[in-house]
Symmetry: C2
Amino acid sequence: MTLAQALFSPRAVALVGASGDAAKTTARPQRYLKKHGYGGKVFPVNPTRDEVLGEKAYRRVSEVPEAVDHAYILIENVEEALEDCGRRGVAVASIFSGGFADAGAQGMQRQGRLVERARALGVRLLGPNSMAVINVTERIALSVNAVLEMDALPGGTTSIVSQSGTMLGTLLSRGAARGLGFDKLVSVGNEADIGVGELVELLAEDPRTRVITLFLETVRDAERLAAAARKAHAAGKAIVAYKLGRSALGEAAARSHTGALAGTDAALDAFFRDCGIVRVDMLETLLEIAPLVASRMPLTLKRAGRVSVVTTTGGGAASVVDRLGMRGVELAAPTLDLTMAASGQDYGSALAKAAQSDCDALVACVGSSAQFHPELAVKPIVQFAGTKPLVACFMPQADRSLALAAGAGIAAFRTPEACADALAAFLSWRAPRVAPSVPPADRPGKEPFSVLSGLGIPVAQWAIADAPAFRHAIAYPVAIKRLEAHKTEKGGVILGVADHAEFVKKAESLAAERLLVQKMESGLAEAIVGYRDDPVVGPLILVGVGGVMTEIYRDYVLRLAPVSEEEAGDMIEQVKGFAAIRGYRNLARGDVRALARAVAALSRLALVEGRPVREAEINPLLVKADGVVAVDALVVRKDAA
Amino acid sequence: MTLAQALFSPRAVALVGASGDAAKTTARPQRYLKKHGYGGKVFPVNPTRDEVLGEKAYRRVSEVPEAVDHAYILIENVEEALEDCGRRGVAVASIFSGGFADAGAQGMQRQGRLVERARALGVRLLGPNSMAVINVTERIALSVNAVLEMDALPGGTTSIVSQSGTMLGTLLSRGAARGLGFDKLVSVGNEADIGVGELVELLAEDPRTRVITLFLETVRDAERLAAAARKAHAAGKAIVAYKLGRSALGEAAARSHTGALAGTDAALDAFFRDCGIVRVDMLETLLEIAPLVASRMPLTLKRAGRVSVVTTTGGGAASVVDRLGMRGVELAAPTLDLTMAASGQDYGSALAKAAQSDCDALVACVGSSAQFHPELAVKPIVQFAGTKPLVACFMPQADRSLALAAGAGIAAFRTPEACADALAAFLSWRAPRVAPSVPPADRPGKEPFSVLSGLGIPVAQWAIADAPAFRHAIAYPVAIKRLEAHKTEKGGVILGVADHAEFVKKAESLAAERLLVQKMESGLAEAIVGYRDDPVVGPLILVGVGGVMTEIYRDYVLRLAPVSEEEAGDMIEQVKGFAAIRGYRNLARGDVRALARAVAALSRLALVEGRPVREAEINPLLVKADGVVAVDALVVRKDAA
């Protein structure tokens, strides 16, 4: 029995703590399994009853006389139940009970012990704090989720992995009302053992699943998820994620700007992009986008996406287009507006005409006919046998049209906003990135400037000068600094020191014994280049406009490190503030290629054996007409306190 | 007969061009009037028939033997029909036909002639290109909109004015499916005569209408709309607008940065704020927000809005809160999460507890119970008799709960995004602004610097120097400039000229006969302060971070001019980039009050008799530790070519 079989298709399940009171939450799994037609064996486990809801009950899982593939633990004494599962040879135990990582430091320790014991016993865990598994196609409703009160669950080829148990119900019930069906739904709870990454791996291998949908609050196993995403891509399956932005994981550890800027959400965004995961912005999009990405490969466009629009409502199309524009999508041709004029035939030929434009996708917007003549309205859209991706947006209340479209595998949307969200996400969907061939880097030194020099990044000429004579060999004018971060705040930097007499005077004003002396440099623009070994997604590289505006405008681009020079060039292209050195309004052009080289070079810290650097930041890196030069840097090693 | 009566409650209507073929669009008004139970008289007008769909028909409107309050013109020869309406004494003619301002320059001229003739005849016009009027409460379905195929229209206290005819149907059909009803719906078409402003005026006086909902593509009568909005506010009625951002009106005329930056959408946003109109971002919010603003006055908060949340689905509440955070709304207290635990009683007391926090509004988020036990789920929310505004968000498919909430006057939302959109819009809703008492300004001179000096804005000391001697009285170092805009592009500025010898040399390099000489000034920050007499909304004032970054980051705040110093201070507070001079990271503080004085001063151009200035821009205005000084300015007068 494989993990996938025990998890998704168990032949026998034990319900540990199944209640005889049908109104109780703990009675639900047994009721739901029966209600939805589970064909396997169900063993209620209850220490005080011989029978539960008409089924013979057992005192303990270990007393069940037959093999049990999957146990669902609904009681507080999870540890005892786990021991019994081990004795009975149960392959997977899903745990509904909370009081583990969801309940503070003590709960976290309890969870650690539980996982350790499960490994020893050879039992895989789903949860704790999990609403377990629903396998719609095989009629296995092994969950406490109240959505199972529904009489019929809609089958389909989309599977969901959710970090919120209740949201599984939300998605399933909304999909059902729309004719959007599902295959497998999994609530991962605390992910103590089986996590999102492993589930995506299993779903990538699952013959029925075509779209893998993720409802996420964070990512706990980025490396495994990244590998699984590549596996899914290779199998021609799409992954779509909706992620809440509230996680603060790993933020507290951040020390420098890079840390503060590249919050976990931005890091995860870079991560999703890297793995070829489509990220949607709105909850409903998560459902509605499935037909658009099912059996499609990412376009991996190198420019803005372009669409053409056909509509029978000018105002409706405008609300979609307006929203697309806000997401950077362009129109390939003027909207074909058939308001008050369209027969099905007109609509079909307008679609064919629109498809001939240089567009990446088509939008079919429909007005009142979607409400009153759904068959006629949807027919030309379904019949349109173009090779180009197509979405439909129905403006009025049009439940029947939505269901018809869903039945025909057309991505159809209830709102202009979700339509634009899905299309924008689809058009920026990229294949998982192939690791760039970047030369590895040697183990870096301790001093920030030597780290940069070691990576081949030009550094302003510098020296150390000691009291009382403060002798050094740098030509005046010079800058003098303390070797600390965030000089702007501490007042420890003096620029433009003209000669040695002034030097000594200023050194005294700083009350410093040792000073860093630097040749004065100037550039056309200041950049910040940052590296961070993120606790969630691993090494990241950031480039943005330097100086105090970095944090104010949050104008930076983040990618998983390392990046090639070409990729670094793409990043720089997306930083708005660099418009000034890209030739905007006839301003002098900066050496953007040298900047890209520096970004790629710093990103090589990700390749150093053992990854000793936690964070590195050059701020500012001066961008000149010819070359770049680092004038201030910070490096934090993992072995630092 | 008042305009409102003829428009909304006609006792007799003529349908000019009513078709005898029930399948035709032009047959619809007659069908719909009958279907929905119109109690007045209907006179079909058709030159080739004596009878249309069972009613006696007339060749011309002028031949109708009785009084006609309202004619709906469905034929191409609108002009002839209008003459007949004039002869018959028709008070209002709604025009469905297009071919006017919707059809290029010739159509625009045709429209001008039509309006002129209508005025002479004493006939008011709705349209052309209008789907006319639906009065739900009085069962008057005078429209071609196919939404009238619905058997029952939901009545309510929300009225809609729409620049898109088809969107009236979209909103009506979606509202009907949700239990959200309407009173009057008007399609304004080209607004040749009766415009949005006048309709809002009528609805402000309308005893049944409590919420006025606008679907806009542009604003054609800002002044009238502003006055109407104030009238509605005084009558305790809310106005909510959804506006498409695609209008390019007035943009082409813009010349300087201010013009380019303050696009019409930004100008209209400032306008809506000024008139106390709630602007929503999503289409569905336009419907769903109505119960929240009905009979409520704006909170006019001077800080970020704060909410408290009660939920039975942690993931659901998180998706609302996440979205609220993106809109700058804050949490007053931690979310009360009753997942798997809530009875109705628990939920009610949790709401009462949440209301005790220092919050401005409450969010009631409901999971599966909204789907399976709608009465139980909605009851505690309806019973919650708090004085604080409350919204409900139902996470699963929960049609019955939505209808129950609508019936009880609770604002309930289908999606976390629309819920957050409505709440954020509500929390930033302000009462219409009372015009500030700002001293009027004298008629300005022609020279930009004299204009500024005349308004009391400090200007860098300057003089004009002529070839060949270039004599002037400004102390060195100085800056020399040509008197042109956008010097960065043209290379006509030389800074830091040290002495007279260098001056003469540089003057020769500029090949200039006359030069502006300015004392070199420096500041802690550069601001842009702009004034524009917008063709759509009238005088606007803008403040933002100056220099080349102004356009790149679009970091500016726009308000209707004039503004008081206090209002200017609020504007400056909202410019992100000014964080640097507000004491961010211990950077030196700039004189923000002097900046506010300069902004208020420039805004006084709005008070000059005849408003001779079209645009004025100071860029940069240097902000020093003590005071501000303008170093470059541009003034465009309306009488300039």
